[in-house]
Symmetry: C2
Subunit: 431 residues, 2 copies
C-alpha cells in the first residue's frame, strides 16, 4: 500500500479533527488503498493545549517547515483568513505540493491567483470543505453534474444565521435575544459580523460562482444584506402568506450574466429549503438535464469539515482530479450581472398612519414604478399611537424600480417607517 | 481537444436523451475538455420511431457491432434487464472498453461477476445512474465520503411508490384508485409489480450495500415488503401519531453485519425524508465523521438519468476513477445480517371486536413476547358490526419477537384481522 505524507497548516478544532482521523485511520487506508501519514503540523503557539495528542516532533511553529518539506506531498491549509494563508498556499504549490484548503476567505478573494499558481505548478488546489462543511457540493458540481449547463445555485450556507432564523421562527423570539443566546451556546462568535451581516455567505457564493459558472466576482461587488433587520413579526406575517425567511446565497444565470446575491428571502413553505432548520446547510442546484437537486447536511463542525478535507486528500492521494481544476480554466466565464436587474416578488412591511387614504398613496408610488400589488394586509394596529403595520406582497418587479419606489415610500408623510423590504425566492412559474 | 467515441446499447427514452445531449453538446466539451462522439447505437427494432434523429448509419440491430468496434472506447448500456445485458457488458469490458450502465437489475444480480471482469480487463464499470436517477449518490459515497466509516444508508429510491404514497397521504385516497390513476398518468407501469412490491428498491439497495459496505447480498435474501397493504386510514392514524408512511430501502451496519431491508415505514414528520413528495428520490447517508447527509432530486426520467450517465461518461473519458472501482475490491465485506435481529418500534393496526377485555388479551400476547406498548388508540368504531380499529405503537422490540407475537395476535378470537404491521424508522435516541 502506498503511503502519502501530509502536512498541516493550522491545528484548531478542524485541524485537530483531521489529525485525529489520520492518526486513527479507522478503515480509511483499506477503503482508499492509500495510507496517509501525518508528517508535520504548523501551529502559531506550540504551548497551546489541543484536542489531539500528536507524536513527538510533529509540531512546529514555522509553517515553512511544512511548505518546504520535500517528504510532504500534500499540504492541508486550515488556518483561515487571507494572510498568511495566501503566501503559504502559493509557496506550497510552487514547491511541488498539492494543496487542500478549507479557507473560504482566501479562496473567495484570491482564488483566481491561487488557481493560476496551481495550474502553472501542475499541482492540485482543491477545497470542497470551504463551502458547506461536510456536504459534498463542489465535487458534484465539477464532476457528477458536468454534463449539465447549470442555471442556478441557491443555498443556505451559513449555519449561524440559519440557527438564529430558525429559533426566531419557531419561538417568535426577537433577533437580539436569539443572537445573545446563540453566542452563549457557541453557535455565534463574540463578534458575529462575518455571519449575521452575510460576509461568510458572500465568500462561499463567490467560490460557487467561479466553480460553476467561471465567473470571478470581486467579493465587494456581491450584493449583501444581513439578517439584523428581521423582526419576529416578519416571521408571523410571512407564515400567514405561506413563507418562511432564510438567508439565501444565490448565483444565477440571467440574460445579463451571473447574478450573485446574499440576502434574507421569503421562501415558500412547501419547498425543501424551507425545512432546513438549525445549523444545517442546503444547496439547491439546477441543471438543464438533472433539474433541481438538493444537498443537505452539517455545514460546519470539526468532524463534518474533516470529512470533506480528507475526502479531498484521498482524492488527490489516489491521483484523481478534483473540484476547482476543471471549470476554472476552460469555461468562458459569465460576466457579473448587476443586482438592479434582478426580478422577483417583494414583501414590504411598513409602519403607517392608521387613517384613510394611506393605501392609495402607497399604491400610487408602487404603480408609478410599474410595480403591481398582489396583496395588502393591514396587520397589528396600535390604536394609541394611531399606527398600523401594512404588509404588501407585490407581483414580480424589477429591483431598480423597487429601490426607487422604496425611496419614495420612505418620503411619504403617512409612512412612519419602511421597516423591511424582503425579496421572495421564485420557484417554477413566474407570477 | 481529445475526442472519445461512445457506443450505445439501447435507444429508449433514456438512450435517446443521452444521444441527444451528446449530439447537441451544449457546452459539455468546453466544460470537460473532452469531445464526445456518438459512434454507434444498437437497437432491437431498426424501424421504430425515436425521440432523437441520429445521423445516417449510426443505428444497428446488432449489439456486437458496438461491443466489438475498435474505434469505440466507452460503451453505454441502457437496455435494462439481466440478459442479454450481462453478456454484452462482459464482452465490452473484455474487448477493452469502459462501460457505463444504468441497469440496476444486472448490477444487483450479477454485479460481483461484472466487476471482476472489469477488474481483470483493467477497465472501468461505473453505474451512477442505476440508483437515484440524476441524484449523485454512488460517486459521493465512493469518493467524497471515503474518509468516513459509513453506518447507515436509508432511502426513498422508487419514484412510483413515493408518488402513490404521497397522493394517498395528501388526498386520503385508496391505494387501488391512486395506482390506477398513476398508471394512466404514466407514473406506474401497466404491470406495476416491480415497483409496488419493492423489487426495484431491492435492486438499488443491493447496489448501495455492495458499494458502501462491500457486502454482496443475493437479492432474493433481502427483506422485501411492498405498499399494497397500506390503507388510507393508516396515513390518518400515522399522522395523529406524528408520522407519515414511506417505502424505505435501508442498508445499515449492525453488530451482526449489514442489514438490508425494503418495506413501508413510519417516518417522523419532522425529518427530511418525510417531506420528499411525488416522484422525488432522497438518500440519507450517515457517516462517522460527516453525520447525516441528505441528497434529493429526480430519481427517474430521461434527462435526469442522462445527466448521471453522461457524468460517468465524462469522468471515465477524462481518465478519472469512478464509483464501483474503489470499495468493491478493497474492503472487507460485512456479512448479511438477518432481518429477525432488526430492532425498531412497530405500528400495529388491528380490527378487533369492540368489547371489554380485548386490549388485555392483545397486551398479554405482546407482553409475553417482551414487547412493551407505548400507546394504544381505539380509532374508528363500527357500532353495527361491533368492530373497532385498534392502533398500537410499541417501544423498540426485536423483529423475531414481533413476528412471533403477530402470529399469536392473528390467532386470537377477539382479533378479526391484523390489518397492518409497520416498522418505524428511528432517529437519534432509541426509545
Amino acid at each position: 500500500m502506498r503511503t502519502v505524507r501530509v502536512g498541516l497548516l493550522g491545528l484548531g478544532v478542524v485541524g485537530s479533527a483531521v489529525a485525529r482521523a489520520i492518526l486513527e485511520d479507522h478503515g480509511m487506508a483499506e477503503r482508499s488503498g492509500v495510507r496517509l501519514e501525518l508528517a508535520k503540523a504548523a501551529v502559531r503557539d506550540l504551548s497551546k493545549k489541543r484536542a489531539v495528542n500528536l507524536p513527538a516532533g510533529l509540531l512546529t511553529a514555522d509553517p515553512a517547515e511544512v511548505v518546504n518539506d520535500p517528504q510532504i506531498s500534500i499540504v492541508v491549509e486550515l488556518m483561515g483568513g487571507e494572510n498568511p494563508a495566501f503566501d503559504l498556499i502559493s509557496s506550497a504549490l510552487s514547491s511541488g505540493k498539492h494543496v487542500i484548503s478549507a479557507n473560504k476567505e482566501v479562496l473567495a478573494k484570491r482564488g483566481d491567483a491561487l488557481l493560476t499558481v496551481a495550474s502553472e505548478a501542475g499541482k492540485r488546489l482543491v477545497y470542497e470543505a470551504s463551502v458547506g462543511g461536510g456536504v459534498p457540493i463542489l465535487n458534484p458540481i465539477s464532476d457528477d453534474l458536468l454534463a449539465n449547463r447549470l442555471n442556478s445555485i441557491r443555498a443556505i450556507i451559513n449555519g449561524t444565521t440559519n440557527y438564529i432564523l430558525t429559533r426566531m421562527s419557531s419561538e417568535g423570539a426577537a433577533y437580539d435575544a436569539v443572537l445573545q443566546d446563540a453566542q452563549q451556546l457557541g453557535y455565534a462568535e463574540a463578534d458575529p459580523t462575518a455571519d449575521v451581516d452575510g460576509f461568510d455567505a458572500v465568500y462561499k457564493i463567490a467560490i460557487l460562482g467561479r466553480l460553476a459558472f467561471g465567473t470571478s466576482a470581486a467579493v465587494e461587488g456581491i450584493h449583501r444584506e444581513g439578517i439584523g433587520r428581521i423582526a419576529a413579526r416578519d416571521f408571523r406575517y410571512a407564515d400567514e402568506l405561506g413563507f418562511t425567511i432564510k438567508l439565501v446565497a444565490a448565483a444565477q444565470r440571467t440574460p445579463e450574466g451571473l447574478l450573485l446575491r446574499v440576502h434574507p428571502s421569503l421562501v415558500p413553505l412547501d419547498v425543501p429549503m424551507a425545512s432546513v432548520n438549525g445549523a444545517m446547510n442546503m444547496v439547491e442546484i439546477e441543471g438543464d438535464l438533472v433539474g433541481p437537486l438538493w444537498l443537505q447536511g452539517a455545514g460546519a463542525g470539526p468532524e463534518p469539515t474533516a470529512s470533506a478535507v480528507l475526502g479531498d486528500v484521498l482524492r488527490v492521494a489516489r491521483g484523481l482530479d478534483g473540484p476547482g481544476s476543471v471549470v476554472s480554466a476552460r469555461v468562458q466565464s459569465l460576466p457579473v450581472a448587476p443586482m438592479s436587474g434582478h426580478i422577483c416578488q417583494y414583501y414590504i412591511r411598513l409602519t403607517a398612519s392608521d387613517r384613510p387614504g394611506v393605501l392609495a398613496q402607497v399604491a400610487k408610488v408602487l404603480g408609478d414604478a410599474a410595480i403591481s400589488i398582489r396583496s395588502v394586509i393591514q396587520m397589528d394596529t396600535d390604536a394609541e399611537s394611531g399606527r398600523a403595520d401594512l404588509v404588501i406582497m407585490t407581483h414580480s418587479a424589477l429591483e431598480a424600480n423597487m429601490q426607487e419606489a422604496a425611496t419614495k415610500l420612505r418620503g411619504l408623510d403617512v409612512v412612519v417607517e419602511l421597516d423591511n423590504l424582503l425579496r421572495v425566492e421564485s420557484y417554477g412559474q413566474a407570477t
